[in-house]
């Protein structure tokens, strides 16, 4: 089965990073090695499940193969798990701890069922993550992420650790953000989305780790006494302190209770730098669930320290900023760290250390000034029960104020809300950063006006108005010709014979490119501009592209359409009075002829002289002929107008339909997509505003 081959493959791969750290952590006894073993196992099984999931979808959606696959992966897991067990057994030292034991117990208890269930769960979550590039990013690019995923299951199986659960609003915001990233992939470049993707990854990684623990980092400038404070809180000299600047080069972690190994692994703190605080029941109870990390400085000339700090600050749940009376107003602290993290005020402590160096009330003055600066930075201060940063003054050297900090930390850790609050603040920050690419200045959408204007322009391009007018005039001309006096027609016929018929007869030539290209181009451009107006630039660009893509071939289609729709359908319709008019005109002519003949007959003496009647007949005929013609013209103007309008409308509607199908619909679809994304964005920002 594929699963088995995948296992062997991945054992090889995952060996390498494991080895690196294994060598690093050589100093540590069994615990480290055991975890490595588990990590490897989990890596395999996760990959198995992913493969299984893919296979299942590819081969047999009915479920039979799925179940088989899952069963297989479960078995594989148990096997390798056994291997790890033996490994941990051989290497188990005093430090192996309760975590290792419980893992073994869990495996021993229900091999098939338990791990099978795990596999199903994990498959589901992997499925949820396989929705786009995010999931691939997790498995392909981020080595750290892969490791974080491994830890998940270690913790899952340990009964002492329950994973973190986000509350409803936050979960829905994260979902919205994930959806948003997925929807935006094709429109925005990766750089813009990187921050949001990172937040999502971190949120997912953190969610799978212990919710009982709160990771708090101690950050600050060199020489502010971070390590001193760390030691004071731990009650034992763990971190090296000294006068040499910078002192601490690598982060040190200290955990107050068990089960935080996954969290510390995620921070990348090697085993040899993990410590336990001084064992005392009281301290343990107060700070239970606290994982304290001592960071290097952020402001020394040693650049790699700053990189360490920047990386860790993105991973921890809360930060204690340690400042001292000398450095509390440093620009680098405020501008580089505190201002950008102003949204994280609720998970921020700012402690003024070294107050033993300040005489008398100077400490209060400095503390007030510090508060003022923090306020300027935009950090909400947690005073009077409002949520915000906690600001304290203390001296790690003398121990003054440590108790307060310990108490505050104790409350903070006991709430167990820091991780969620931190993630929430991260989502806020990501949303703020994404604001310019999603927020529009005004209502997005294609107004009816713009659509009409587009149709008008297309009609212009195919020449609908001119075609209509031409048809109207041609109809009227025909009517005039049909109902005109025969003498006039004779005269015209004679004229036509004499002159060459240049342009006299409307030749229905078949024109190539009868549509005005420039007008179509302009119409598309204008409508795209209208639709994109007010949209953030990536989306405006997408709308424009959709319009341009749709307009390809539009001209040719319009050409064809003009030929088809422009051609008259058979003979132009004739009104019902037409025969009567023709008859009347004929009667007039007959009257003229009869009158004439009568007169002629009198002249040659063939008939008795009676001038009155024939003259009257002729006069009636001569006056009535043009009269009938005139009346016909009057009567014909209505139908002619209708005929022309009809021709115009036919062409116009055909062109508009063509434009709608090819340009307006894709543009509208793009706008709809934007609106959807915008809705997701609003959900992600936590604003419940109507989508518009």
């Amino acid at each position: 089965m594929t699963a088995v081959t995948a296992v062997t493959d991945h054992t090889d791969h995952s060996d390498q990073p494991g080895d690196d750290e294994g060598r690093e952590g050589e100093g540590r006894e069994g615990e480290g090695r055991q975890e490595r073993g588990h990590a490897r196992v989990e890596d395999d099984s996760v990959t198995d499940r992913r493969n299984a999931y893919k296979n299942a979808h590819k081969e047999d959606p009915d479920g039979e193969a799925v179940r088989k696959e899952k069963g297989d992966s479960g078995r594989v897991r148990t096997e390798t798990g056994g291997g790890a067990e033996s490994g941990s057994g051989s290497g188990a030292g005093a430090g192996a701890g309760a975590g290792g034991g419980s893992v073994e117990a869990a495996v021993g208890e229900d091999e098939a069922v338990g791990s099978g269930m795990d596999a199903v769960d994990a498959t589901d979550s992997a499925g949820a993550w396989d929705d786009g590039l995010i999931a691939r990013r997790v498995s392909v690019t981020a080595e750290g992420q892969a490791r974080a995923v491994q830890e998940v299951v270690v913790d899952n199986r340990s009964p002492a650790v329950t994973p973190l659960a986000y509350d409803g609003p936050l979960r829905s915001r994260l979902d919205a953000l994930r959806e948003l990233v997925g929807l935006s992939r094709t429109r925005l470049d990766n750089r813009t989305l990187a921050e949001a993707g990172r937040v999502l990854d971190e949120a997912a990684a953190r969610r799978r780790l212990s919710g009982q623990h709160t990771v708090v980092a101690i950050a600050g400038a060199t020489g502010s006494g971070k390590s001193q404070l760390f030691n004071a809180l731990a009650g034992v000299a763990i971190s090296e302190t000294g006068v040499r600047r910078p002192t601490t080069a690598a982060p040190i972690a200290c955990s107050w209770s068990d089960g935080a190994a996954g969290l510390i692994d995620r921070l990348g703190v090697p085993g040899r730098l993990r410590r336990r605080p001084l064992q005392s029941a009281e301290a343990e109870a107060q700070l239970r669930g606290l994982v304290l990390v001592d960071l290097p400085d952020h402001d020394s000339a040693a650049l790699q320290h700053r990189e360490h700090v920047d990386r860790m600050l993105a991973l921890v749940d809360a930060v204690i900023w340690v400042v001292d009376p000398e450095k509390y107003a440093d620009a680098v602290l405020h501008e580089r760290y505190l201002r950008p993290m102003a949204g994280h005020a609720e998970v921020t402590f700012v402690v003024l250390n070294q107050i033993d160096r300040l005489p008398g009330e100077a400490a209060d003055q400095v503390l007030d000034d510090l508060r003022r600066l923090l306020d300027d930075d935009g950090i909400a201060l947690g005073e009077y029960g409002e949520p915000g940063a906690t600001v304290l003054a203390l001296s790690a050297l003398t121990g003054e104020g440590i108790g307060e900090l310990r108490e505050a930390l104790g409350h903070f850790v006991a709430e167990r809300g820091a991780a969620a609050r931190r993630i929430s603040a991260d989502v806020d920050a990501a949303a703020v950063r994404l604001w310019p690419v999603y927020a529009n200045r005004r209502q997005a959408g294609l107004s009816e006006e713009a659509r009409d204007e587009f149709a008008d322009r297309l009609a212009d391009a195919v020449g609908a108005t001119a075609a209509g007018e031409a048809a109207e005039r041609a109809w009227r001309r025909n009517a005039g010709r049909a109902c005109g006096t025969p003498w006039l027609r004779l005269w015209r016929w004679y004229q036509d014979r004499r002159e060459p018929p240049t342009g006299r007869l409307s030749v229905r030539a078949h024109d190539e490119e009868a549509t005005a290209r420039q007008r179509v181009e302009q119409a598309v451009r204008t409508v795209a501009e209208r639709a994109a107006d007010g949209l953030p630039s990536p989306w405006a660009q997408a709308v424009r592209e959709a319009a341009v893509r749709g307009s390809q071939g539009l001209c040719e289609a319009l050409d064809e359409l003009a030929v088809r729709a422009g051609a008259p359908v058979g003979r132009p319709p004739r009104p019902g009075w037409w025969p009567a008019a023709v008859l009347a005109q004929a009667a007039m002519t007959v009257l003229q002829v009869v009158g004439g003949l009568w007169l002629a007959g009198q002249v040659i003496g063939f008939m008795s002289p009676n001038l009155g009647v024939p003259v009257l007949l002729m006069v009636i005929g001569i006056v009535g002929g043009p009269g009938v013609e005139w009346a016909c013209k009057l009567a014909a103007s209505g139908p002619a107008r209708r005929y022309g309008l009809d021709a115009e409308r036919r062409l116009r509607e055909a062109a508009a339909g063509c434009g709608r199908a090819r340009v307006l619909d894709p543009v509208a679809a793009e706008l709809l997509r934007y609106r959807e994304v915008r809705g997701q964005f609003l959900r992600a920002t936590g604003v419940d505003a109507p989508v518009g």
């Binding site: 000339a301 440093d330 001119a466 229905r508």
Partner: protein, 535 residues
Amino acid sequence: MVTLDVRPQLLDALSALRDRVAAARFPLPLAGAPRARANRDELIAQLDDYLVPRLRQPEAPLLAVIGGSTGAGKSTLVNSLVGRRVSEAGVLRPTTRTPVLVCHPEDHHWFSGMRVLPDLTRVWMPRQDVDDDPLLSAEDDLRVLRIETVDTLPRGLALLDAPDIDSLVADNRVLAAELMCAADIWVMVTTAARYADAVPWHLLRTAKEHDATLVTVLDRVPHQVVAEVSRQFGALLAKAGLGDVPRFTVPELPESAWGGGLLPATAVAPLRAWLAQQAQDPGARQQVMARTAYGVLDSLKSRMPELAGAAAAQYAAALRLTAAVDGAYDSEYTRLRGRLQAGAVLAGDALKRWRSYPLDCSAGELLDALAESLAALLLCAVTAADERVDEAWRREPAAGAPGLTDRDPTLESAEHRIGMAVRRWRRVLEEHAEDEVRALEKSVAPDPEVVAALVATALLGGRRARSAGEGLAERIGAHGALRLRDKGGRLLTDYLDKALHDERERRLAPLDALDVHPEPQAELIAALSVLQKER
């Protein structure tokens, strides 16, 4: 020994160079532009505040500027050096917001005028005022320099207590940099907690670049660790290539550290002695002065080409922007000509009119339709060109300059302008047709409007309007028709060229208004080479 001998030519060259630098502008928002602007300001400040006054008056007192991070104890150090509270020290940061210059009373005239630091307003504040109302100067918005005279200071030496170099207050940072540049002696103060900070090391590196006379003070060292910290600081200095810089250590003393009091004279005695020696020993004084002055002169060698490079980059960016516009309009123009040749104007409405002419359509209507179609073609070309320009500019960081891309909604007005041009063309064409008809010796003269319509159709219709040419020849004769068509064609080309050219100019106008030229680069380099020759 290096001495300072200054010829007037050098000063002339220097002031010419200063003018050139001041004239350099970097309006386009390129990556290096803010840096170049800062460099230019810094260079001007250094020339005005330090180099020119120093070269003009070598006998003026030495100015030692005390600089360092906030909380390093600069003010306390100055107070202790003169033995009196002249500069306010305190626990709230940043403490010193107004720079304080301390000198001997007899040296006062050197600094009270605008000889050095001409853009700082001098305030003269009696001591008691300072005590009574310490916030008075801090609240002042003007950039001020407070001058104190103290007779405990040796003659020929002035101390300047600068604001912190990495202040949260941006103005302070700028001011501090400017003040440091005005110094004969740079006194860099750091502390036991700070000596590994990145910020002071940037300052030290700059000092080394400028080859300024530098002295470092390691302040606030708890006495238990004096030896160790001092050794480590020395090692760091040596590593940075500054091992020969005089180094003084001042211990942290509880009674002086945070109260703003004075350190005992013994704590600062070595520094004081060193400064006094630099000021009073003519040889040492000459050396100090010459080193810093020549350091600045030498630094011009690298700073001027940097500025010139930035100016060149500006010009290159402007050129790229212009080229993008030109390229877009040129290619659109070519496309427009091609379309005209192919008879694209005689399409759509105009084509329908032409097909029904003259039976169902009058000459005037045909002419109207043709003019409208021509205007549409022109407008299409212009908007397409604009779109291309926008696209090309989107990839140019320089296009972000204010006013360059935020065009007023010109589409309507462009339509208006083009419509006007086309109407004018039509009128002139009609006049030509009338002339031609009038010249005709025919009993029945053809209607001039018909002639105009036929000419326009023949000109704009390409192949499919061949019969228009025939009809025209029939009406006014082959010669007349040819003449009229030639005239009309020239007219059309002229009007099209003008319309497109106008639009292009309109597009380029904001860029031209930014006034980016190639000259500053050459001028900066020329000024530098003149200066080099005069040295």
